[in-house]
């Protein structure tokens, strides 16, 4: 028994049990599957039209995909890579968040200015909540109390009480908020503003902005610095911010909010996801059609690999 455990731990420490990353290719209507150990595309799966947001169920059995132009959230069986059914998502679903109850999916419907709440078991719409114009980013707090939506044109974060499915408050942030991310302890919320060029850190208790992070890359015009995807390490050390057409990922000290470095990746870096126990960070680079891999310990980009056209979202299965 001890020998087996030792062999298993060696396998894990050697990284043989690699993670699998799923990347939506917006223009190809496909998903590229990447082995994070070999950093090679192992499969390409046809899905609905214009796939963007992508998220796993908590047990990693199902993969939810926002097929925006198919007006559906597709559910894929992760073992067979088959689409098993569609969920009623409302029009033009772009991003979503799965509630910690592993059942309620909160979907931003960009064209309708609503957030649709879908019961993934009953496959029913249980609520539609009016929010600002062009809803986009979605996040659920770790304790399940809050669901946050960002509206790109209204420039607000909308606080949805998950127990009543009602909008209870708004926080004004900089122009065109794109993405929101809770810290692991649920005390702070990071929101990127694409046109504003900033990331706002919001205190969840007061729902007020506590810090605003600005970015400046030598040689890159400030108009090109458009923060989108944000990821925070579980140890509370770093925040990574994808800076869109600036083609860089900013590394931020999550405690002092100081920008530590800018890492060069592909063109129009959009969304981010951790892999291999947060030792690697994957970035989707839309215009160059590739995925860059960042070594989180060394803060270096180690590889960039081609996927389909216009990769948008990325989700990782351990």
């Amino acid at each position: 028994m001890k020998k087996r455990l030792l062999a298993l731990s060696l396998l894990i420490s050697n990284g043989v049990l690699a993670d699998t990353a799923y990347v939506t290719n917006e223009k190809d209507d496909t998903i590229s599957v990447i082995n994070t150990e070999t950093l090679k595309v192992t499969d390409t799966i046809d899905v609905g039209m214009r796939p963007r947001g992508i998220i796993f169920s908590q047990d990693f059995r199902y993969l939810y995909i926002c097929a925006s132009n198919s007006d559906a959230v597709q559910v894929m069986d992760v073992n067979t890579h088959q689409i098993i059914h569609n969920l009623p998502s409302g029009e033009d679903p772009e991003q979503f968040a799965l509630h910690p109850n592993n059942r309620h999916l909160y979907i931003a419907n960009e064209d309708d200015a609503v957030v649709t709440v879908v019961d993934t078991e009953k496959r029913d719409v249980i609520a539609q909540i009016d929010v600002g114009v062009e809803p986009e980013g979605m996040a659920a707090s770790p304790d399940g109390k809050w669901v946050i939506n960002t509206s790109e044109t209204t420039n607000m974060l909308h606080w949805i009480d998950a127990s009543t499915q009602t909008l209870v408050d708004n926080t004004l942030v900089d122009q065109r908020p794109r993405h929101v991310e809770f810290t692991d302890d649920g005390k702070s919320l990071w929101a990127s503003s694409e046109i504003g060029g900033t990331v706002s850190v919001i205190d969840v208790a007061t729902r007020q902005i506590s810090h605003t992070i600005r970015f400046k890359i030598p040689g890159v015009h400030r108009d090109k610095i458009q923060p989108v995807g944000v990821k925070l390490t579980a140890d509370g050390k770093y925040a990574f911010v994808a800076l869109g057409p600036a083609n860089h990922v900013a590394v931020v000290d999550a405690n002092t909010f100081e920008v530590l470095d800018y890492l060069l990746v592909g063109r129009r870096v959009w969304q981010l996801a951790f892999a291999d126990n947060q030792t690697r960070l994957l970035t989707t680079n839309g215009v160059s059609g590739d995925v860059s891999v960042i070594d989180v310990d060394k803060l270096k980009v180690i590889k960039t690999l081609k996927v389909g056209r216009y990769p948008w979202g990325v989700a990782v299965k351990p």
């Binding site: 040689g219 060069l264 990746v265 592909g266 980009v301 180690i302």
Partner: protein, 264 residues
């Protein structure tokens, strides 16, 4: 044993001469540093670098040109060292050495090796400075690069030696700079990837492809990333052998080009 002593003597003399010419080291480092700090900064945003081997991700322009700048150090030093033969063979130490009983090819190759070793010292001094500008390779990459830098240094040094067999006066060095060094440098992959050159001028692209200096630079580039570019290695090595052979021929008092040119 006498060969070894003569070899050590030539190398030691060149090293001593280099050591006493501090300005030579400084100027050898200032040139590539200007390219790296000023030129690369200006072109950082202007030139998009696609992912081409040996790179596995996107790189900034300053990272791209470092192997090329190592190449320019080798090229300038190789030329300078070999062309100093024009002076040396008339009134310097080589005048004595060339009349010694040791075979002339051995003396010339020793001189080439000595020049190459000095070039390597300069390149590694440049790598150390580039480190502070955040251009950092792995330790293994720096080690891998040493033999490749040496082969390239021998190649350009041998070319300089060959040219020196034609040149009667040191003043002709300016001509060599204009007609050999600069075209070799600009028509290579040192400053821009060849696919970029192909986009604007196919003829120049093919000239650059047949430029042995391009292969020397690519050999260094791959080695710095712990890879071997076999084709570049073969071409650089063969070119080095051919240039060495031609230089030895050129320095042969009976058959040499210099001899015939001088009408002796």
């Amino acid at each position: 044993m006498k060969y070894w002593m003569a070899f050590c003597g030539i190398v030691t003399r060149e090293l001593r001469r280099f050591w006493h010419q501090k300005a030579r080291l400084v100027s050898a480092l200032v040139r590539p540093l200007l390219w790296l700090v000023v030129f690369a900064a200006g072109f950082r945003a202007a030139l998009g670098i696609a992912i081409i081997p040996p790179y596995s991700t996107y790189i900034t322009y300053d990272v791209y040109i470092v192997p090329g700048l190592a190449g320019i150090i080798l090229l300038f030093n190789g030329m300078q060292s070999s062309l100093s033969m024009v002076y040396d063979r008339e009134m310097g130490s080589m005048k004595v050495l060339l009349t010694s009983p040791l075979p002339r090819p051995f003396l010339l190759v020793s001189k080439l090796v000595a020049g190459a070793l000095i070039s390597l010292l300069q390149v590694y001094a440049f790598f150390a400075l580039a480190w502070f500008f955040d251009i950092q390779m792995s330790l293994l990459g720096y080690l891998f690069a040493a033999p490749m830098l040496f082969v390239t240094a021998i190649m350009v040094g041998a070319l300089g030696l060959l040219l020196s067999s034609f040149i009667r006066q040191l003043e002709n060095f300016a001509g060599v700079m204009n007609f050999v060094v600069f075209p070799m440098f600009f028509l290579s992959s040192a400053l821009y990837p060849l696919w970029k050159l192909k986009e604007s001028n196919t003829i120049l692209y093919y000239i650059a492809q047949y430029n042995p200096f391009t292969h020397g630079v690519e050999l260094i580039r791959f080695a710095l990333y712990e890879q071997v570019n076999v084709m570049a290695f073969v071409i650089t090595l063969l070119t080095a052998v051919v240039f060495c052979g031609a230089a030895i021929y050129g320095y042969d008092p009976k058959r040499g080009m210099h001899n015939r040119k001088a009408g002796r």
